[in-house]
């Protein structure tokens, strides 16, 4: 009796597993890539832009499949480390892993050394330049400087008080570089288009201490934005991962104030803030991801440092442009025409804002007269520029 039962069960199990085995054989194993997001996947900012980039890969590179974990930071996931999450993803079958925050630099390198057969992309990092990267680690970043110049341009064209606030994250080379780009765009519009006195343009940078709000740890970006608007700054440009600046601007607008804001990172960041949003400089990670993932799949992977720019033929092309700028609903039409011309000049090389003479905040020279900033010099921006207010480094 008992034996019979076992026999029947075995037969049932065998046949039950057959279909699974058949589908398994018929379907080719997908190329799984993992995505580690520092913030929520739906933050309408930095992390969502990456998440959408991953979705773009799934759609455009046949046979790929994404796994992701969001909120990868010690405040949201206490006790969890990057190598641990990488191990989890590798156990899921991931063959390439993207780490999307500068905060993950050390952890990503550590994980890359532990998994030499897995490919890693560290976003915004420089391990490949510094020579610290193992062969399976590449760096990817977008030339956001250009889109930030457009943002600064829009801000200066719009401000009525001549006071622009920049809501900065933490201070490092990247964030200084981007704040400086905004300032240069603003100054260009102020002086060359509006023909105003550069001394009358005030550009204040306030850093909160991290990429997004961590209660009790960073400054509260909502308060910083409110403070800007309450002290006469009528345009606030965001440099952080999340949307506080544009949200606060919307509130102030409803209170009857004439204020504007420029969010960051995510193409859809203006949605819901149509009264105040001047536009958004955003990342389009799809093309860069596709390039590296295809290389990994084809076996032509190289440990390279990619700093991908806008496609000047169409800076908003989903297929080719890694950075872009879309106008917001609150941007005046005539301003848009001016920005459009500015973009054309940037693309043709007629205007190059990183051209000397240019001085750091403490008066030391950044670029000699006539000198055009090299990639390296630009990447490793050591201070803010003269004419900007705000800290260049920690006190």
């Amino acid at each position: 009796m008992f034996r019979k039962l076992i026999l029947i069960i075995t037969i049932i199990c065998f046949f039950a597993s057959l279909p699974a085995a058949i589908t398994f054989a018929a379907k080719e194993k997908p190329f799984i890539f993992g995505l580690l997001l520092v913030g929520p996947y739906n933050d309408r900012g930095w992390s969502q832009a990456h998440f959408d980039g991953g979705k773009y890969v799934e759609k455009n590179v046949p046979g790929t499949q994404m796994v992701y974990i969001d909120k990868v930071n010690p405040a949201d996931r206490p006790g969890v480390t990057i190598p641990q999450l990488v191990d989890d993803m590798v156990a899921e079958g991931a063959r390439l892993i993207i780490a999307n925050s500068d905060d993950m630099k050390d952890g990503t390198r550590e994980a890359a050394l532990q998994h030499p057969d897995i490919h890693f992309i560290h976003i915004s990092g420089d391990d490949v330049i510094t020579g610290k990267a193992p062969k399976n680690l590449a760096n990817l970043m977008g030339r956001m400087e250009y889109a930030k110049m457009m943002a600064g341009f829009a801000a200066a064209m719009t401000t009525q008080t001549g006071k622009i606030g920049y809501l900065g994250p933490l201070i490092n080379e990247e964030t200084r570089r981007l704040a400086v780009s905004c300032y240069l765009g603003a100054k260009y519009a102020w002086v060359n288009v509006l023909k105003k006195n550069p001394a009358d343009l005030k550009f204040q940078v306030t850093w909160i201490g991290f990429w997004f709000n961590i209660p009790g740890v960073t400054l509260d970006p909502t308060q910083v934005a409110q403070n800007f608007f309450n002290t006469g700054y009528d345009v606030v440009i965001s440099g952080i991962d999340t949307t506080e600046a544009v949200v606060v601007a919307g509130q102030k607008h409803r209170e009857g104030k004439k204020v504007w804001s420029i969010p960051y990172d995510y193409i859809g960041a203006c949605e819901g803030a149509s009264d105040v949003c001047l536009g958004v400089p955003y990342f389009n990670w799809g093309p860069g991801y596709v390039r590296l993932i295809k290389a990994s799949m084809a076996g032509s992977w190289k440990s390279e440092w990619l700093w991908l720019g806008p496609d000047w033929n169409d800076i908003n092309s989903e297929k080719t442009s890694t950075v872009g700028f879309v106008a917001g609903p609150a941007l005046a039409d005539e301003t848009w025409l001016k920005i459009d011309a500015f973009i054309k000049d940037l693309g043709s090389g007629k205007v190059n804002l990183f051209k000397g003479p240019m001085k750091y905040q403490d008066g030391r020279s950044f670029l000699r007269p006539g000198e055009v900033a090299s990639d390296k010099k630009l990447w490793y921006m050591k201070q803010l520029l003269q004419g900007m207010d705000g800290q260049s480094s920690a006190k």
Binding site: A75, D106, T218, K382
Partner: protein
């Protein structure tokens, strides 16, 4: 008598676990997640492979150390909620020692020194709360909470100021230490032998101290009835400080572990909330030194395994936080139930209450 006691204890733990699962299941259902699948993934994500188990152990070590420390303070009826800050200060002093030891020829010595530094840092911070209690009459819960905030403030100040990375101002932490100053992990096993040894020794010491030594006995006596103990010639203040030193010392080692073994730097969230979690662990373990490590292991599994929820089931990752909150509620509910049962039993037999609760009976 003895065996019925054990059965009672086991029954209580099973009941608590049942409550925990019931709470969690309700939450998972509310979130639209299949509970069985979720449990399966948590289980597989924490114990499904050696690598995963090694991460569980990594979390288990500091959690158990904190729990060990808390056993001393609970024994004398102190709510050492400042354990979180004590862990942070342990991490701070550890970091300070390691910073001095960069470029050293004897990294192992520096590592050991940094652990001693961690003990000193944690114990000193606990002593501060202890003095506020014994000398200043400040309730240890308020003192502890306040000192937790101060410790967090000190860490932020150090990261943003004194110990900032060159050219950078970020709350993400200090510069990472060179690998010589990382706690040694056995390469194949991915486990730190020193860490494991320390935590096992800590559990044994705690068990022995509480059970067989005069200090342990006195802590219990004072915890049970402070006034009576005083009449017996025990000085409650002194023993409170002793308990705090032990609690802070163990929490401090946990902080050292986080710096040297997990993050290799100081960061604002260095304590990973293990201190607060350890309070729950000890309560859930019913203040039993042998059960505490087991309960800590359960929480460590949950911590490591819950990452599977967003990854496999696309559940919002804040859900694991909600689950942990539900655990707190479940434990508190059981706790309340337990006290009520005790209370009822005491009402039936007042003399029994005297023994169990040790509170004064007015006559």
């Amino acid at each position: 008598m003895k065996s019925s006691n054990i059965i009672k204890k086991i029954r209580e733990i099973l009941l608590t676990l049942l409550a925990v699962f019931a709470f969690t299941t309700v939450i998972l259902l509310l979130a639209g997640a299949p509970p069985l699948k979720a449990y399966y993934h948590i289980f597989k994500g924490s114990l499904g492979s050696w690598i995963k188990l090694s991460y569980v152990i990594k979390a288990w070590i500091p959690l158990t150390l904190c729990a060990c420390g808390l056993l001393y303070t609970f024994r004398i009826n102190l709510w050492n909620i400042g354990v979180e800050g004590q862990m942070m200060m342990g991490a701070v002093v550890t970091t300070a020692v390691l910073r001095l030891g960069i470029d050293t020829q004897v990294p192992n010595l520096v590592l050991w020194l940094s652990f001693i530094g961690g003990i000193v840092g944690g114990a000193a911070w606990a002593l501060l709360a202890g003095y506020l209690k014994t000398r200043g009459g400040v309730n240890e819960i308020f003192a502890g909470l306040g000192l937790n905030f101060v410790a967090q403030g000190i860490i932020l100040w150090l990261i943003f100021g004194l110990w900032k990375r060159p050219g950078v101002a970020s709350m993400s932490g200090t510069e990472i230490f060179p690998p010589e100053l990382w706690l040694f992990y056995a390469p194949g096993l991915r486990i730190s032998p020193a860490g494991l040894a320390i935590v096992i020794i800590a559990v044994i010491i705690t068990a022995a101290m509480l059970r067989y030594t005069r200090i342990g006995l006195n802590l219990k006596a004072i915890g049970a009835n402070r006034d009576a103990a005083y009449l017996f010639g025990l000085r409650p203040g002194k023993y409170m400080l002793i308990a705090m030193i032990f609690a802070g010392g163990f929490a401090g080692i946990a902080g050292s572990m986080q710096v040297t073994g997990v993050y290799h730097r100081l960061l604002p969230a260095i304590s990973s909330n293990y201190g607060y979690l350890a309070l729950l662990v000890v309560m859930l373990a019913n203040y039993n030194v042998w059960l505490a490590p087991a309960v800590a292991f359960f929480f460590a599994c949950l911590n490591v395994g819950s990452i599977q929820l967003p990854m496999k089931l696309q559940l919002d990752s804040s859900l694991s936080g909600v689950i942990q909150g539900a655990l707190v509620l479940a434990i508190l509910a059981i706790h309340a139930w337990r006290t009520r049962v005790k209370f009822r039993a005491a009402e039936e037999a007042p003399t029994k209450m005297q023994q169990a609760n040790g509170s004064r009976v007015e006559s």
